[in-house]
Amino acid sequence: MKSKWIMTVLGVALAGMLAVGCGGEKKEETKAEAPKQEAPAAKKLVLGVAGAQSGDLASYGLPSVNAAKLVAKELNAKGGVNGMMVEVLPMDDQCKPELATNAATKLVSEKVSIVIGHICSGATKAALPIYKDAKVVVMSPSATSTELTQSGNYPNFFRTISYDLIQGNAAAGFATAELKVKKIAVIHDKGDYGKGFAESAKKAIEDGKVAKVVLFEGITPGGVDYSAVIQKIKAAGADCVLFGGYHPEASKIVTQMHKKGMKIAFVSDDGVKDDTFIKTAGPDAEGVYATGPQILADNEVFKKALADHQKEFGSEPGAFYSQAYAAAQALLNAVAKAGSTDYDKVVAALRSEYIETPVGKIKFDAKGDAEGVSFSVYQVKDGKYVLVK
């Protein structure tokens, strides 16, 4: 009899969860809002960090949470921004558009006015209309889809990473002009980042008319074996592989190419310019080219950001850490310069005020792309990425 009751109670509890959950949430919200309404610039400045923080893409989203926390901690130690303590509010979207809209409405409902995110271009595209409507300034460390800034649809959007078109052009230009290769196989991972890069690169190569695209194919990410596509590259007679995607696939392809005795040039994108790539590909990483934002070896902010992460979390930072660090700095600096979180003032500050970041001294152009992020090509030499151009 007892068990019956427990089941019933459980059932009722679950059924009531919605109501209770909503009620509880609501109360918290009003609590959170109340002090803000009384004195708008009183206590804290919330910095939303949205992106994939769980699920299989979590490794691209979690580093930006760490970056934001570190920047916030540093500023708070100096007395905060405009006298407000910075608080980081992570918001998971698993890189899924529908969850991104949930995350965005949640941030908007919490009256957050500055957001770092989202990580994936797709999720960003889904969330931006919501932020735009609520006049929230959004800055992504990693969404590279060209149309996000170039279409002019989202005046509230900024980014600290260069977009597909530039990256693709840079990689294609490097391959044709510097490496002087004639037959290029363009491979991508079917994702919006990788394919966007690959398509831009393909277009640039075709427009350049110096080299030919002999193969354009997508591989299935997460696969254990890419030998078929490698044989195809070989059969096409390519003398260079241009890969759009992330480092796990890149390292598998490079390793397997080398196993098959193929030693042609491998040029890739920012998703591969990551130390994890060198670790996973090991000796096979040697000689691989990757484009990425220029980080001068003597960039003090970069060194400091790296050291802080090592100290705080005891590990090397992950993907897009520098960009996220830069975004956090830029956003908080803009709020400080603007003197408030007023949308127009913050946007104006972002467009006018330079700031030293791990990715260089930057400000933003009218479309939202960072000025001062110069693009370079790196090569792995002795287990390190070294600037070649």
Partner: protein
């Protein structure tokens, strides 16, 4: 005796916690870096794990024993008992006012809660309809469909593409989406309906993947992985409105669609067609031997489920204003299936509860940030273990017989 029992459970919990501590030892404690050749030991984690699992195992054992005792008791009784909850819910005296109250709360919701709450509730409502649709295929007709999300994608892309190329509005595409869903349901249904059980499951899974892969790769048609953005929200007599108002509007559209779907499925469940589906689920051979055209019944279930999914796809595209193939992965199909099974196969109320749970739980677990999916997974296991037939058990209609006419 109670004390002895508690000691027994404590002992059990101790053993379980030692076992779990042993089990999780390497993964919780050791972190290696094979490149730098360093090893980090984190012994504190082990202590947390041991204490945590001790408490959890203790509670687990007690509840499991209760459950089993309850089941054993039930096995002895020939007449099935109905839980107090479902008895309460099925009693028209309580059910009617409760439903009216529920509807009132639902109708007033956006006026009292924030846009975020409304927004996630719209998501949950979309999944209610998806769950009810899949419930027809899996819960009623017993066809395990692991590629259900394909039809969702069909609807979403139908709207997105028609909107992009021909600027067709939401209301114009909604019925077209339904037709497309039914069409694809029948198209994909035909070759696979000969298969049974898990073979059907893997083939539907395959079809689901195929549709997603085609959307991903056929860029000229679907814009590939970068997706389609700036899809129009539903029109409202040409009035422009803010995102917040759009959310409210969307909410009412969804509420209406949910009510419609509940109405349709409830009616179907106790109709000639619904009974045929149920018979099909229970015993295919007997079902056909009793004069039911299995192929027809299966196709109908498949097509109807697909229609609802496709409708929801249209709504989804209009709600998020952006779609790409990443929204239509296998995991999504698995989630919808989980809604159906967790809620209670074949039960409309159960599916609604299941959808609310699985869609709202991750949102309300946001406070746990990185632990939320861990808790979510654990909750799924727990509910299944403690309520294997789902939150609400499906019940068959009790017919009142007009004995005079029959006699």
């Amino acid at each position: 005796m109670v004390a002895a029992n508690i000691i027994k459970h404590l002992k059990g919990a101790l053993i379980a916690s030692i076992w779990l501590a042993f089990l999780t030892l390497p993964i919780m404690v050791i972190r290696v870096d094979t490149v730098e050749k360093t090893v980090t030991w984190r012994w504190m984690h082990l202590a947390y794990m041991a204490v945590g699992s001790f408490v959890l195992a203790f509670i687990w054992n007690i509840f499991l024993e209760r459950r089993d005792r309850g089941q054993a008791k039930k096995a002895l009784e020939t007449v099935e008992r109905v839980s107090a909850l479902s008895q309460f819910l099925s009693d028209p005296r309580f059910a009617r006012p409760l439903m009216a109250f529920g509807f009132l709360v639902a109708a007033a919701f956006p006026w009292f809660f924030s846009m975020y709450q409304t927004n996630i509730l719209v998501s949950a409502l979309i999944y209610v309809v998806l769950g009810l649709g899949l419930n027809i295929t899996v819960g009623l007709a017993g066809l395990l469909d692991l590629g259900y999300v394909a039809f969702y994608a069909v609807g979403a892309y139908t709207y997105a593409l028609l909107n992009y190329h021909f600027h067709l509005g939401f209301w114009a595409v909604l019925p077209m989406g339904a037709v497309m869903g039914a069409f694809f349901g029948i198209l994909l249904g035909f070759p696979v309906l000969r298969l049974r059980g898990d073979y059907l499951a893997i083939v539907t899974l395959g079809f689901g993947q195929i549709i997603r892969l085609v959307l991903e790769n056929w860029s000229a048609f679907s814009f590939g992985p970068s997706g389609i953005s700036n899809i129009d929200r539903p029109g409202l007599f040409g009035i422009t409105y803010s995102v917040e108002q759009a959310t409210t509007y969307m909410y009412y559209i969804m509420l209406a669609l949910v009510v419609l779907t509940i109405f349709v499925t409830a009616r179907l469940k106790d109709s000639r067609i619904g009974r045929a589906w149920l018979a099909l689920r229970e015993d295919e051979i007997a079902c056909q031997a009793m004069g039911i055209d299995n192929t027809r019944a299966k196709l109908m279930a498949f097509a109807l489920g697909a229609t609802l999914a496709s409708l929801m796809g249209v709504v989804f595209a209009a709600k998020t204003t952006f779609i790409n193939p990443a929204s239509f992965t296998f995991m999504e199909s698995a989630m919808i299936l989980a809604i159906v099974v967790l809620g209670g196969m074949g039960s409309v109320l159960g599916v609604i509860l299941g959808a609310f749970m699985l869609m709202l739980l991750p949102e309300y677990l946001r406070a746990f940030s990185e632990y939320r999916m861990l808790i979510f997974g654990a909750t799924m296991v727990l509910i299944m273990v403690f309520r294997p037939q789902g939150l609400v058990r499906a019940k068959r209609k009790v017919y009142k017989i007009n004995t005079e006419a029959a006699g």
